[in-house]
């Protein structure tokens, strides 16, 4: 069908361009836009449906402030790890070792802070660096030695699981300094004293919603100015309002309990960073090109050996995930999950 729209002669191409009346075009474009983006909207709709289902089945427990807070506290580290994994998967590879590397870095953090009494700032920096180094080494094997990432990271998974056990000598180490624990289980401080509501958190949520709306509007204006196809105005407004509303609602729920967890802020910042890297920088662009068609990318002067480590490097565990969760390291891995060490 698409082949038809590029015929070299006017009759068919005018049909494809839709140079019919403006009104008809508008209706069609809304429908078409939905059709083209069904997959993206589909995922959102599915999410909403799942939430609705459990909200109903748990008789409202799901959306209770306490439960939401717990969900965020317990799962943020997975989102953070998945962010790093994003680049690896886009480049067409896989990292099986994230779980064990996460565990290893967690163990390292514990040993440094608890046994060697390091301050948490240098300890965290060392851990981040270490995670990055591990990613770069594994990526190097993939890029330079041309060993499939599956093999490299499968080995890495076993190696780092073992190293973590060795580092901890099979014991649980803790507790972490309370300042460091704040990172994982703390909440942002409240500047106002309103009874039963953490106003700062709510305002922050509202500010983010507003910022997103303004950003979206500017991007839309920019696209229109350059004549890029955009979604229909109605849909844009509806989407912005719904998202903004949801954001404010969630921050309200969280604010009515203890406020926004620190780890949520960290997660949000990382999401913004990764979004920027993937969509706006040349590095991100190169990774997408590598994943889309490696041969074409290479013939366009994009060297895979330079891309791979950088994407794998990004797959560091930004935070010693386990410690973020429990405030102490686990004595031993119970199940050998790929993404999680639990």
């Amino acid at each position: 069908m698409t082949e038809m729209s590029q015929t070299t002669h006017p009759p068919a191409s005018t049909l494809a361009d839709g140079s019919t009346t403006a009104a008809a075009r508008h209706d069609k474009s809304l429908l078409q836009h939905l059709q083209h983006n069904l997959r993206e909207y589909g995922m959102l709709i599915t999410l909403v449906a799942i939430m609705g289902f459990f909200q109903y089945m748990t008789e409202g427990t799901l959306m209770q402030p306490l439960n939401l807070t717990n969900l965020v506290l317990q799962n943020s580290y997975i989102v953070i790890m998945a962010l790093g994994m994003l680049l690896v998967i886009v480049a067409g590879h896989i990292d099986l070792s994230v779980g064990s590397v996460c565990g290893f870095i967690g163990a390292l953090a514990a040993v440094l802070m608890v046994e060697y009494n390091w301050h948490f700032v240098p300890a965290t920096l060392v851990c981040l660096l270490c995670g990055g180094l591990i990613g770069a080494i594994q990526g190097g094997f993939v890029a330079f030695s041309r060993i499939p990432s599956f093999i490299v990271t499968l080995a890495g998974m076993l190696v780092f699981k073992g190293l973590a056990l060795a580092l901890l000598a099979g014991q649980s180490v803790g507790p972490f300094p309370s300042a460091f624990q704040m990172l994982s289980s703390g909440f942002i401080p409240d500047l106002f004293s309103v009874e039963g509501l953490r106003l700062t958190s709510l305002l922050l949520g509202a500010a983010v919603a507003a910022a997103l709306a303004v950003g979206g509007l500017r991007q839309r204006a920019n696209r229109l100015r350059h004549g890029v196809q955009t979604e229909p105005a109605g849909l844009f407004v509806a989407r912005t309002v719904v998202f903004g509303g949801l954001l404010v609602y969630f921050s309200y729920l969280l604010a009515s309990y203890k406020g926004l967890p620190n780890v949520l802020i960290v997660m949000a910042l990382l999401i913004v960073l990764f979004d920027f890297v993937t969509s706006r920088t040349t590095v991100g662009r190169r990774i997408y090109a590598m994943g889309g068609n490696e041969k074409a990318a290479k013939l366009s002067g994009i060297s895979g050996s330079r891309c791979m480590p950088s994407s794998t490097w990004a797959c560091w565990q930004p935070w010693p995930g386990w410690c973020l969760r429990r405030g102490s390291t686990p004595p031993r891995p119970r199940r050998a999950w790929v993404l999680s060490w639990t």
Binding site: M1, E3, A16, Q229, Y288, A289, N293, A297, L299
Partner: protein, 531 residues
């Protein structure tokens, strides 16, 4: 009358793909369907084979005089209508026999009788004239032989109407001829054939009737039995206007030597003892269009790719000079920085990131050109893509359209814009018009002429000799990894080029591998995933 399609109309949202198409195929004839890319040939065949089931189109299909309503491919295959797609549907790791009977196994109670399959495969291979053991993995065969396996596969199913979609698009001259001979033989055995092709010389050789499609409608049906149909007449029907000149006129203004390659040697990437390029000297002057002619497997693509950042081969030696200065082209990045550009022959496999849009692909080779401090300026990127869209007249719904959905000619233009955006000084175009319709070809020739007029060096590699004769200033003839002739186009002819190839030095002749092998060896690193 074996097949009649009446008033077929098929629409997709926003587009009328087929409008009142009529097709009449007599039993026992070879019926050619021609038309520009996007004229609706493939869509028509998909309607016929049941890919688009009955009800999704309007009109009638009569086969054997009865109206048929196919709900799927199974129904049409059951009647003996078998289609061989342009992209071959063979499993490279399975053997010939396994591929032939894939989905149609010689089995009893679900257990495959391999002995029977083997002997039947042997008989079928004999029929199509392929001398290979049925146990050979298909991946080891060249494209030409794979095509024959496809036909054997079709024959294994009691075919009555065989549809071939551009069967010779990726074949060399010899294999194409062999395939056409086979079609004539099948015709003698009573098998009807529909042939979709861009190559008019092939069509005029084998076709009994020609149906011309344009913009989704039947324009004309020409009967070749009544008298020879001239190519010009077919072209005129295809493009709807008279093509007085297939190549643009130009006044070559050739200056000094700009680009030079000296004593270039390279070895096969897998077999380091096999020297594929045996000391090549090449030079291109400012504003000159130089052609490289040769048979498939002569090493033309290998030459281009090994020069372009050592993308092919190993143990490469030789010197590349630009304006008399030796330059380092050891990686693609460096080659691009020195102003080289290589437009690949395999635009889908090596040229485009198909899943991404036009702007993405346009800026790919020159990301710094659309970014500041590693941050991409999407507005700038859009402007650049839009600019090339207008300059090269790329037909698309917008520069944010995925390149996957473009027709061949427009995809080629996107690849060209990608390289033009690197502002190259030397352009190497490898089969720039492969699989492109006549109209788009003319546009690409015009563009090539324009580039030369701007003072760039253009090297055109092509298997179509008329094309080389039509657009170049000078032609190198390549055979067996070396240049065997260098002639100004003004006194070149197809005969001369062929003579240069066949009268290559005796040493080169001795090294000629068995037919088809050269093509497959050369093709493998490029078309790894194709089969």
């Amino acid at each position: 009358m074996l097949l009649e399609m009446r008033n077929i109309r098929k629409t997709f949202p926003g587009v009328v793909a087929l409008n009142q198409v009529n097709l009449q195929v007599q039993a026992g004839e070879i019926h050619a369907i021609v038309g520009e890319n996007g004229a609706g040939k493939s869509t028509l065949m998909k309607v016929l084979s049941g890919v688009y089931p009955h009800g999704s189109y309007s009109g009638q299909i009569l086969f054997d005089g009865q109206e048929r309503e196919f709900a799927g491919i199974r129904d049409s295959e059951h009647l003996g209508i078998i289609i061989i797609h342009q992209e071959l549907a063979l499993v490279p790791l399975l053997s010939i026999a396994e591929n032939i009977f894939l989905g149609n196994e010689t089995a009893r109670h679900g257990v495959i009788d391999w002995m029977a399959a083997h002997s039947r495969a042997q008989a079928l291979l004999h029929k199509v004239g392929l001398r290979e053991s049925p146990d050979t993995p298909v991946g080891q065969l060249g494209v030409g032989k794979q095509q024959l396996v496809e036909i054997a596969k079709a024959l294994s199913r009691k075919v009555r109407l065989l549809i071939l979609d551009e069967p010779t698009a990726s074949l060399n001259e010899n294999d194409s001829q062999a395939l056409l001979d086979l079609l004539l033989e099948l015709k003698a055995q009573g098998i009807t054939c529909i042939l979709i092709s861009h190559k008019l010389n092939e069509i005029s050789r084998v076709a009994d009737a020609i149906t011309v499609l344009r913009d989704g409608s039947t324009v004309q049906m020409l009967d070749c039995r009544e008298g020879p149909v001239s190519e010009d007449r077919v072209i005129q029907a295809m493009v709807g206007r008279e093509m007085s000149d297939r190549y643009p006129q130009r006044q070559p203004q050739v200056g000094d030597i700009v680009f030079e390659v000296r004593n270039w040697r390279a070895h096969h990437p897998q077999r380091s003892d096999r020297e594929h390029l045996k000391g090549i000297d090449l030079n291109v002057r400012r504003g000159e269009i130089v052609g490289i002619a040769g048979l498939m497997g002569a090493g033309r693509t290998e030459l281009a790719m090994s020069i372009f950042g050592r993308s092919w081969g190993q143990r490469i030696s030789g010197e590349v000079r630009l304006h008399g200065q030796p330059i380092d082209v050891s990686t693609v990045e460096k080659a691009v920085r020195h102003g080289l550009a290589y437009v690949t022959e395999d635009r889908k496999g090596n040229g485009l990131v198909l899943n991404e849009d036009i702007q993405f692909n346009t800026s790919l080779a020159n990301l710094p050109g659309v970014s500041f401090a590693s941050v991409i300026d999407s507005g700038q990127e859009h402007r650049v893509a839009q600019d090339y869209r207008e300059k090269l007249r790329i037909r698309c719904s917008g520069v944010d359209q995925k390149t996957l959905n473009l027709s061949g000619g427009n995809q080629q233009k996107v690849v060209l814009s990608k390289w033009l955006f690197t502002s190259p000084e030397v352009l190497i175009l490898d089969e720039p018009t492969r699989g492109i319709d006549v109209g788009a070809k003319y546009e690409i020739y015009t563009l090539i002429a324009q580039l030369a007029a701007e003072g760039k060096c253009v090297i055109v590699i092509s298997s179509e000799m008329p094309e080389l004769l039509g657009i170049t200033d000078r032609i190198y003839v390549m055979n067996e990894g070396r240049f065997v002739a260098d002639m100004p186009t003004s006194d070149a002819s197809q005969e001369k080029i062929m003579r240069a190839i066949v009268s290559a030095p005796p040493e080169a002749l001795r090294a000629i591998p068995p037919k088809g092998d050269a093509a497959s060896a050369a093709g493998r690193p490029l078309h790894g995933g194709r089969a």
